[in-house]
Symmetry: C2
């Protein structure tokens, strides 16, 4: 056995043609991983999500038995990569549905719009006062009459231009300061960064480089990582880029990833992955815009608490188990290089503060961006991702909770679900004759359904009576409901003729209903606890990566959001990145974010006595209590 282990095999992945050499006995999912190939995987390799299907074209392998493959798949040599060991040189084919084309990821719904508008800062809500600034200072050199020391001279010059009562200089800067100042006649560009109440002299350079100061704002999602390149001198977004979070091989949700990391001692690897993703985005943006990495002085991240823990390799273990606590909610600014992020070696990394283990800086960013913390009236904010975080309140109080909604609206746990990428059905209507009209992202052949498409599908199936209030398929000849391997299913796209069959199955619908029920139950718990009625809601803000054509009315139809008039519902897209940029550009916005994070009251739903009841009650379309949804017209009254 020891001898056998030493033998190496070459695995070739089609259609990319990528090859990797691995020891005999290596698990195929690991080999793919090592080759840099993305395979969908929700369970993180435990063998029960059935997502990591791959076709063996040639070679010897050993697979554990599984019930997750159909007889036809087995005949075609489809295996679960996580349950299959490599025994010889082999060739495998990665099915199309795994393919991620990062160039087609939706970055945020308003990426183009905000490319010229730096959010709240440009709008004058917050004063433009970026966290890291470059100042060009022309100082008088010291004379016998004016013998102020160089270090104090620099401070005086900075204080003429910036509000910096408490200052700090690193030892290395201090050591080089005098010769630097003398070499350039006391004309320098100084980079100052805000670290809490302290202003740090980050860098001193000869001459005027104050027009070259850039930052990258990053939304670290569990699935997608979005980066915006910002010109800090002009408060403009120059370019945007996104990629998939390459931790995805270790599980589609962060609880799974924490488990994986814990069991495999892989927290370092988890950090390397996300840091690598962020670095790749930065390099891509900088290269495209011909910007020297040295001129990028700031990175600001918004993400859920777990993602921030992974990024910084903080202990994330108790996020997934009692007592469900973070290592830190407020992360002090650190040298970006210390976390492995490759910008200016003295540049700073900021993370938006979290509220709790399940309510992160991305949600704080959402509250900041929607400004619900400043309004007199009551607002509701819901961010639908793998989890569904919900915030309720106004300028006087804010409560929040996180439902374990599950990633159904991100396409996971849904047979033909997929992320909002090329070929995803993002909009769907069932016409009166039972035919279907849809629109795919990029206008290409449909390959799956993304969040907004799934919301449409669920709402439309319910509207026309294909599914009943329990979400079960009603027998209805008008529509293409057939018996499939997982029970009844509805055909969105017929297979054959080069088209991939796309169906929505009973388990898919159950998952989607559970997701929306989780979100709505969270909303109900917050509203009941604060005695807020639906009519009290002055604004409902829905954030998330659904796709660009979200029909917000459908969110009410299926009972995900309270039944408020549609004009009160605002789809706000990626508020995580928008909030991160606002903070980046204004110290006052950072202070506001910190105040939001500090003042939000967190409701732990897992231990809340009413959450389970509310969840069960919400597991209907739109709800068991129809009086909560007076505007929803039912195709059928029967349960």
């Amino acid at each position: 056995m020891e001898e056998a282990k030493k033998k190496k095999c070459v695995v070739r992945f089609e259609p990319s043609g990528l090859k990797i050499e691995v020891p005999v006995g290596t698990v195929l999912l690991g080999a793919a991983n090592k080759a840099g190939i993305y395979l969908s995987s929700i369970c993180g390799g435990d063998g029960y999500c059935g997502k990591c299907k791959i076709v063996i074209d040639q070679g010897q392998f050993q697979s554990r038995p599984t019930t997750l493959l159909t007889p036809s798949e087995m005949r075609e040599n489809v295996v679960l990569a996580c349950q299959t060991k490599v025994l010889s040189d082999m060739t495998v084919t990665v099915p199309r549905f795994h393919t991620l084309e990062t160039s087609q990821i939706l970055m945020d719904s308003d990426a183009q719009r905000i490319s010229k508008l730096a959010g709240e800062v440009e709008a004058g809500v917050f004063k433009f006062d970026p966290l890291v600034q470059k100042l060009y200072l022309e100082m008088s050199p010291p004379t016998v009459q004016d013998h102020t020391a160089d270090h104090e001279r620099l401070y005086l010059a900075i204080r003429e231009r910036a509000d910096a009562p408490v200052m700090q200089t690193g030892f290395r800067i201090l050591q080089k300061l005098s010769s630097m100042l003398q070499s350039c006649g006391y004309k320098v560009t100084v980079t100052i960064g805000r670290r809490g109440e302290t202003t740090e002299v980050i860098e001193v350079e000869a001459g005027n480089h104050s027009d070259r100061n850039f930052a990258v704002a990053v939304d670290i999602g569990t699935t997608t990582v979005v980066a915006h390149l910002v010109d800090l001198t002009k408060a403009t977004t120059i370019d945007t880029e996104a990629t998939y979070n390459s931790q995805i091989n270790f599980g589609d949700d962060y609880i799974r990833r924490i488990m994986y990391a814990e069991e495999n001692n892989a927290f370092d690897e988890m950090q390397n992955r996300i840091v690598g993703d962020v670095n790749n985005l930065i390099v891509t943006l900088a290269t495209r815009q011909k910007i020297d990495l040295q001129d990028i002085t700031t990175v600001i991240c918004a993400g859920n608490t777990a993602m921030v823990h992974f990024l910084l390799n903080l202990d994330a273990r108790r996020i997934r188990r009692e007592p469900y606590v973070a290592s830190a909610n407020f992360i002090p600014p650190i040298r970006a290089a210390k976390a492995g992020i490759k910008i200016n070696e003295r540049g700073l990394l900021y993370c938006l503060p979290s509220v709790a283990a399940y309510v992160g800086g991305d949600i704080v960013a959402g509250v900041l961006t929607t400004r619900i913390y400043t309004k007199k009236g009551i607002s509701l904010f819901a961010d639908i991702g793998t989890n569904g975080e919900v915030v309720l309140g106004n300028r006087d109080w804010l409560v929040c909770a996180s439902s374990s909604a599950g990633p159904a609206f991100e396409g996971s746990g849904v047979k033909h679900g997929m992320r909002a990428g090329a070929g995803a059905i993002e909009k769907l209507i069932i016409l009166g004759d039972g035919s279907i009209e849809f629109k795919t992202i990029g206008g290409t052949r449909p390959v799956g359904i993304c969040g907004s498409g799934l919301l449409d599908t669920l709402a439309e199936l319910f509207r026309v009576g294909v599914i009943d209030r329990t979400g079960r398929f009603a027998t209805n000849d008008k529509y293409q409901v057939t018996e499939g391997e997982d029970g009844l299913q509805f055909h969105l796209v017929q297979g054959g003729n080069g088209h991939q069959e796309i169906v929505i199955t009973q388990p898919d619908i159950n998952n989607l209903v559970r997701s929306k029920a989780g979100v709505f139950a969270a909303i109900r718990v917050l509203m009941e606890s604060t005695q807020i009625k639906t009519k009290d809601l002055e604004g409902v803000y829905l954030a998330g990566g659904f796709g660009n054509f979200l029909n917000v009315a459908h969110a009410v139809t299926i009972g995900m959001l309270p039944d408020v008039p549609v004009e009160k519902i605002h789809f706000v897209g990626n508020t995580s990145i928008a909030g991160a940029k606002t903070v980046l550009l204004s110290r006052k916005a950072l202070k506001a974010a910190e105040k939001i994070a500090q003042s939000m009251t967190y409701f732990d739903l897992m231990s809340h006595p009413k959450y389970m009841d509310e969840f069960v009650r919400a597991n209907f379309l739109p709800h068991t209590d129809l009086s909560l949804f007076p505007s929803v017209k039912l195709a059928t009254e029967k349960i």
Copy 2:
């Protein structure tokens, strides 16, 4: 020639027997240096101070011609080590006067007294509130009901015990915090350090170690480095130690050392020397007191501006040339390890702030210790070392200046001058019959004269009329004035019978008079500028390393200090280390020191129109203007 260079010679130094192998052509001073042997040297190897005399016993050498050796010295193979090259294996003898016995250095006059009294802090002047503290915290672990994150939980617990509105945690601490807290049931010792307005979490350790928190206060003198080991939990001085500043080979004063470093690109070496000295002192103290270096969390240094620049390797070049500025007067606290100081790797290094290039943190410490900045009446403070720094003022204003007094009172530039070590004459009286009584440090055979002895000698010679008001020897049969190699000289100790001859020569007296004239001229400039008369002075504080038996009245007799009643003159010993310890033990004292440094007005004497006049007028005993010294009785009225 290239061939010859490759050949190595062994130089043996007697009486120590130390050997060193060096290439042919090596300068003997450098060889001694490399062997770790101290040779007096003021000029730093330029060949004109004549201090580095050494005897060649055997071997070939090449010496440059010099006028600094007497014919008898030349006959005895005495050479200047800095002007002599090694051409073969050789044996040399290091004369006794070079010998420094570090175990006998005077640390400060009140080292014993303050060993139980932590200065102003113990006296209740400042609140005990050390710059670095260890707190033992027993926190409740988080629960589902109390889900405060670990980092915020720690902050809350710290804030219950310490005033710390603005806190900061390093990335490494943040990363290990959670697993640390869990491993020990949330019972930890946290080390907090004050960095300006910010309180840093320096270290977190499992269990209770709060009783092991030590600091070292260091007075970095140009000649002597003194260290006190302080128990930060009890505010007591545990032990003291001192050594010579091993930069001394590069010149006896710091101007010379800066020149040497500049010409030889030796700033790194200069730093290594002083850092090595500080480390040696720390290790000696820790070993003797059985203290783990990890439990030393703080080092605080007071020194002149140049010494602090050397310690931190800041650019010191313009301290010695126009416009005579420091790189930094206010040094932020830094990680001690960054400067190479070997205490706890996260421990902090503080430096007392300077006022200007020639008025350093040691003088600020003096003002703090004497408390002249709090008094209503006017005080004068003078610290006599290689330079003579002078401060005048009260609680409303402070002015200061530094005279280039020269190191005469430290024993340099005086034929038989020496530092206050074993065998130094530290007290001397000329009796009525012309005979001399003296006392040596350690009660051993006299080998030279230290500061207090030189002050006595000058005052006594003047009192009895051996020298006149110009400092010139008067012919007087009663006293042993003879013609020596340098002109007239006075015998303190006759040579022979195992005794070393000790004389004071006309050039010695000229040097001493110049030194005192420098100090007094500085005092005059400050007093004239502020229109303060001698009668306005309520207290005169004299600091320095003179020796333990300083006769302060003699400082008036020779015209070094203004003619105030003797009871107003206080010899305060080493106020540099006393002030450093006070700051170490109280944040308020640090703030006071910073305020002192900020508010003192510096007078640059070199560019002051009156200084030269005052200096010339003070080049008499006690002064040209006798009305300034009504109490001084003259042995003779003639000039």
